[in-house]
């Protein structure tokens, strides 16, 4: 999951406590008729809170996600692939910029988001805590993680918060290059020598569990979940997005003669749904909470980037600067 709206079902008090019911009704009516909510509009506290968390997580995912892929920039096979990978990684950092801006319109400053990322208070997509030990891993990431990201982003771009939808529209326009580039790299290896095929198969085997984790655990149905759907903060269940992903990409993977490491994976022709082994959700929780193979390195790299350039930012910060919340 890139960024995910989620209300703890054990939360005792009503999330609507203290809200102005008349304003709430007008707000919900606006969303129901397909209107977007804009930064200065009235909104329930929980709507703001969920969106900040979701967009912020998404922004962190983009910026941290550029690290596993960046691993192979210096050793990309050939100049064209090196240029393409640099462009893709730059795009991802640009996506983070757009998303931080969208979250900022809800009132959280960019400094606070960066601080919360580095301190571990804010999360980012779990998949980026795994390493990319070979070039083939970077190919699998660019194809399949970006494919998952596209499903998530296209879905969320139909949501109710204007600035997030607009950022996602811009992002999705760039993602098609990422997907094609990743597919191209995977196909090249999968149709290549025995060694190349083996390399891409091993990368797929490594990445399949994180890919299954990507959309998050199955959502339990809850009153809170319904509210997030009604507010168009959450646009599809995690399982629906996972099914959509499998529907689109499992046949393409099989088509290349690659094996997916799940003996139970098959499409049930009666229900039209994919059946599969649930990935290890305990591992998912453990990694999200800091105990993955690369969590410490990812955050240390991010922290160092902020630290080592701070003196430059201080030197160019002018007099009389005054921050106001961005408009849209």
């Amino acid at each position: 999951m890139y960024g995910n709206a989620y209300i703890d079902p054990n939360q005792q008090h009503s999330i609507l406590e203290g809200e102005d019911m008349e304003k709430l009704a007008a707000f919900e009516a606006r969303i129901a008729q397909g209107d977007k909510i804009e930064p200065h509009d009235w909104m329930p506290k929980e709507y703001r809170k969920q969106l900040i968390r979701m967009i912020e997580q998404h922004a962190h995912s983009e910026i941290i996600g550029s690290l596993p892929e960046g691993t192979w920039i210096t050793r990309a096979p050939g100049f064209r692939r090196k240029l393409a990978l640099m462009a893709k990684v730059q795009d991802e950092v640009g996506h983070a910029q757009l998303l931080y801006a969208a979250a900022e319109t809800l009132g959280k400053r960019r400094e606070s988001m960066i601080n919360d990322l580095i301190s571990g208070k804010s999360k980012y997509s779990n998949v980026f805590n795994y390493p990319a030990p070979t070039w083939a891993d970077s190919a699998v990431i660019a194809w399949l993680i970006d494919a998952g990201a596209i499903i998530n982003q296209v879905t969320n771009s139909k949501g109710s918060y204007g600035p997030y939808c607009r950022a996602l529209d811009r992002i999705c326009a760039e993602e098609s290059f990422h997907l094609k580039y990743g597919h191209d790299n995977v196909v090249f290896l999968a149709t290549g020598t025995k060694v190349q095929r083996q390399m891409v198969q091993e990368a797929l085997t490594r990445w399949w569990p994180p890919i299954m984790h990507f959309f998050g655990p199955p959502d339990k149905s809850s009153v809170h979940g319904e509210i997030l759907m009604r507010w168009k903060v959450k646009m599809a269940s995690n399982d629906d997005m996972r099914q959509q992903f499998m529907n689109m990409y499992v046949p393409k993977i099989w088509d290349l003669g690659l094996q997916i490491p799940d003996p139970n994976l098959r499409k049930n022709e009666q229900t039209g749904k994919w059946e599969y082994t649930e990935p290890d959700w305990n591992e998912f929780k453990r990694v999200i909470n800091g105990d993955g193979p690369c969590n410490a390195e990812r955050l240390a790299v991010r922290r160092t980037a902020e630290e080592r350039h701070r003196w430059v930012r201080r030197a160019i910060l002018g007099q009389g600067v005054e921050y106001v919340t961005p408009l849209a």
Partner: protein, 124 residues
């Protein structure tokens, strides 16, 4: 402990994994500029987003990087967010055209009936 990474760039940077982080101060990321671009000559400029920058010149550099990465831009404007005056959505009713202002609408000018009636009177 100095990080030994799969990424040679990270290893070269000699990053101490345990180092304590001093949180960023409030204006570390500067203020924001609103960015407008023109897709091609003859079209209007339109708002595309923001950049954080210490001054207009750097805002322009960042805006070019962020908003014209894939062509489709011939001109950029940046303006400090705090210099933009805005209306509030809750005042959106000021834009509603009231029925009393139909005299400003083309469709409230109907002459064909009058011409028709005139012609009929002439023939009679």
């Amino acid at each position: 402990m100095i990080i030994q990474s799969l990424d040679p760039r990270v290893t070269r940077a000699r990053i101490d994994q345990e180092k304590e982080f001093q949180p960023l101060d409030q204006l570390d990321q500067f203020e924001t500029y609103e960015v407008f671009h023109q897709k091609k000559r003859g079209q209007q400029h339109s708002h595309v987003g923001i950049v954080h920058a210490p001054n207009a010149e750097l805002a322009m550099v960042f805006a070019k990087e962020q908003y014209s990465r894939r062509g489709q831009c011939v001109n950029l404007w940046v303006v400090r967010t705090r210099d933009v005056f805005i209306t509030e959505y809750e005042d959106a009713d000021i834009f509603e055209t009231t029925p009393a202002k139909l005299h400003r609408e083309a469709e409230s000018y109907k002459v064909m009936d009058r011409i028709q009636a005139y012609k009929e009177r002439q023939e009679a």
